[in-house]
């Protein structure tokens, strides 16, 4: 885990100046962070439950290691794992009787791994759960593979909630995209306005892990970071009134209306170790017109863990908890709108995973 300085290095605050509302160039930094999110991978160690290994399996080779894309899903890495098991571990007789639709994953600690959670979220959720366990090493830069147990029979379907097929995963993914769309704009018309070929294309982009295919469609539904954005903090009254209008105001130009800072709310979920998951409306700007920061968000939602919205360096030495976004410990001054437009998962959701500091 490392820390990036993510905010405000690319926009000079043009206090009281004029803004070009037509300028909607997705800047270099936005693309860079979207690319980093897309290319992010997590190390996995996959082992078939030894009790379930069919007779004549090669036990010496039962482990499979891989770097899985954060934005992918377990059903999508199944073919690769299956290939390995069939080629190397199982003999022909076993390979014939095993049914892939009965397979399911568990973490080493016995947590069921859901088919419809992005792999990066599964990994981060595991990291924060480990942060409360006694044996957990303090948060460090050492990245260790997450150990997954693959079961070959008797899936607990009622708890897994979905069937393991790529098709079920696609439906869940589209559902999440629509929910995110609704959170941002109060309707799903951007999503439902996509042609069938685009709706299929965005999923193909995930399945084939092709950045350009995914973003060709995703750019139509994801808010833009434009070079016009609210000045902060404490703008003079004239420009404040220009930038604190309600998101639905019709006076905004088309570029502005699609901007990350003009959404009604940022799709965010907050994960605490071993639950619960919190979801709420997270406006991009606070009532005073300043950007809603991660520090403010954490302070408002889990004040017992983040007792200050902008801790001083002294206070930070006794931090109780930390917040991961895409596996990165994120600074308190990061702006929620910016995070939502650049570091959200492929399903449009910004996942904030909170772990506890072990000093």
């Amino acid at each position: 885990m490392s820390t990036y300085g993510t905010t405000r290095h690319h926009h000079a605050p043009a206090l009281g100046g004029t803004y070009s509302t037509k300028d909607r160039v997705t800047d270099y930094h936005t693309t860079l962070f979207r690319r980093l999110t897309w290319e992010g991978t997590v190390p996995l160690e996959i082992r078939v439950d030894p009790k379930e290994l069919p007779a004549n399996s090669d036990r010496g080779l039962e482990c499979y290691y891989m770097q899985a894309p954060r934005v992918s899903y377990l059903p999508l890495i199944m073919p690769e794992i299956r290939q390995f098991l069939m080629d190397v571990v199982f003999d022909d007789a076993a390979a014939k009787v095993l049914k892939e639709e009965d397979w399911w994953f568990e973490s080493e600690e016995g947590t069921l791994l859901k088919w419809h959670w992005p792999i990066g979220l599964i990994y981060d959720n595991h990291t924060i759960s480990a942060s409360v366990k006694a044996s957990a090493p303090p948060a460090s830069n050492v990245v260790t593979p997450m150990k997954l147990i693959l079961h070959l029979a008797s899936p607990p379907s009622d708890k897994l909630l979905l069937s393991p097929s790529a098709e079920a995963c696609k439906q869940a993914f589209m559902g999440q995209l629509k929910e995110a769309d609704f959170i941002r704009w109060g309707s799903t018309k951007r999503m439902t306005g996509l042609r069938k070929v685009d709706q299929d294309g965005i999923w193909e982009g995930i399945k084939e892990h092709t950045f350009d295919d995914y973003w060709r469609v995703a750019a139509k539904v994801t808010p833009a970071i434009t070079s016009t954005r609210p000045p902060s903090p404490g703008p003079p009254p004239s420009s404040a009134s220009l930038h604190t209008r309600p998101p639905s105001a019709d006076t905004a130009g088309p570029a502005d209306r699609d901007g990350a800072y003009n959404v009604r709310s940022v799709p965010v979920r907050l994960y605490l170790p071993d639950g619960p998951v919190l979801q709420d409306l997270v406006p991009p700007l606070l009532e005073d017109g300043t950007p809603h920061t991660l520090g403010h968000y954490l302070f408002t939602h889990v004040p017992l863990l983040f007792p200050s919205r902008a801790p001083t360096p002294q206070e930070r030495r006794s931090d109780l908890a930390y917040a991961l976004v895409q596996g990165v410990v994120s600074p308190y001054e990061s702006e929620m709108a910016w995070l939502g437009a650049t570091l959200a998962g492929a399903d449009g959701w910004l996942n904030v995973c909170v772990g506890i500091c072990r000093n």
């Binding site: 769309d181 619960p276 919190l278 979801q279 017992l304 006794s318 109780l320």
Partner: protein, 129 residues
Amino acid sequence: MAQATASPDAPTRTLPWLTTEVSEETLEAVKALETYKKKDASKVIVRFKAVGNAPIMKQNFYKITSSNRFQAVIHFLRKELGWKAGDPLFTYINLAFSPAPDDTVSNLFKSFATDGHLIVNYSTTAAWG
């Protein structure tokens, strides 16, 4: 309905790290996590609305415990409709999207309630899938 997903609280155990040397901050954080883990016992009003050919319910307002998962709402609805396993039923929020089954009623209510109700549409065919 209220108890649909209620599970008995895990027995209290002596947590191993409490016996070794742990900083005050860690203890405080662990205590905070326990607080946030407590289930929200409050109830919210869920309003079911049939779409297309789906049968209409006699009563369509229900008070449902916030900490329930949406999955429990789907189970409840299927039971009320007398649906058998395998009978198709599609559920949506605000005629717009299907939420993740593991999301809680509380989270959905906070984000999508209309006039104090969480509106759940149900259909026998995929409508906004």
